[in-house]
Symmetry: C2
Subunit: 179 residues, 2 copies
Amino acid sequence: MEFAEKTLRQEYKFRGKIMCARVDDVELPNGNPAYREVCEHVGGVGVLPIDKDGNVILVRQFRYPFREVIYEIPAGKMDHGPEDAADCGLRELKEETGYTAGKLIPLGCMYPSPGFLTEITYLYAALDLTAGESAPDEDEFVERVVLPFTELERMIEADEVRDGKTITAAFRARLKGLV
Amino acid sequence: MEFAEKTLRQEYKFRGKIMCARVDDVELPNGNPAYREVCEHVGGVGVLPIDKDGNVILVRQFRYPFREVIYEIPAGKMDHGPEDAADCGLRELKEETGYTAGKLIPLGCMYPSPGFLTEITYLYAALDLTAGESAPDEDEFVERVVLPFTELERMIEADEVRDGKTITAAFRARLKGLV
């Protein structure tokens, strides 16, 4: 492959439950040696639920790395073993918002930070929604928020929504004419 | 703060040049203990250059975590010390594409993966462009690509562009009427 870098040596510096830190020695296309830090991550799924009135369902939750409560689409890590991304998305949608979906439309993938992170986020739009009781586990604190898609767009433009997967799902839903 | 988690203990497992791996013990809002893995990252800047004809300038480069050549906006890490994000953006734009910009318009921030990663990506649109020679350093392999904004939208919709910062910058430029 053009520009490809050859791995000479890999060393794991930390192996956690959701991420691993790795340092690699590589050979560049020009033959020079280089050093790469890589964060391996289990990957995740995000679901943009759109109801028949053109509202979207988001969740507000405290995100520890930023010590902030932020808006995001319902999402989860693929940490229950090798499960199908769509199944994971439907499970997280139900747990976090109580909604079930009659139809799931793929919205492609997002690479959050391709320079150093292996994480891939699989995205879907969820349609034909039925509301129900949410069932977060005891230690999960999420609040469901229903708002018009146009309001989500306003919040993205105003830098009030900053989450990469939420913005990517909203843009692709717009481009595909789902809203 | 509502939902806030209290840090009881932090331990660094790896300290690298661009990232650190940390594990924390926290106390949840309900008093229960929990464990958090956090990846600290130096942060970065991405710049969407838009010329007077409505074309955008992207770069193609090999991204080691995926072993793929992908399309992205010009971008860089804030790894030269505490520099201003706008200065970092202009420097990376020049190095990777050769363009200089007469005007930089803030496009807010993006959180690539707020569940575990502290990285923040600062985004700008670059206007009033002047083309010039790119000056990547010897070990940087990037290829400049000029294409209509509508083609970038097509590629985002078709899942051919997957980079979170590129999609976020494009959506905000569209919402702000810059294209």
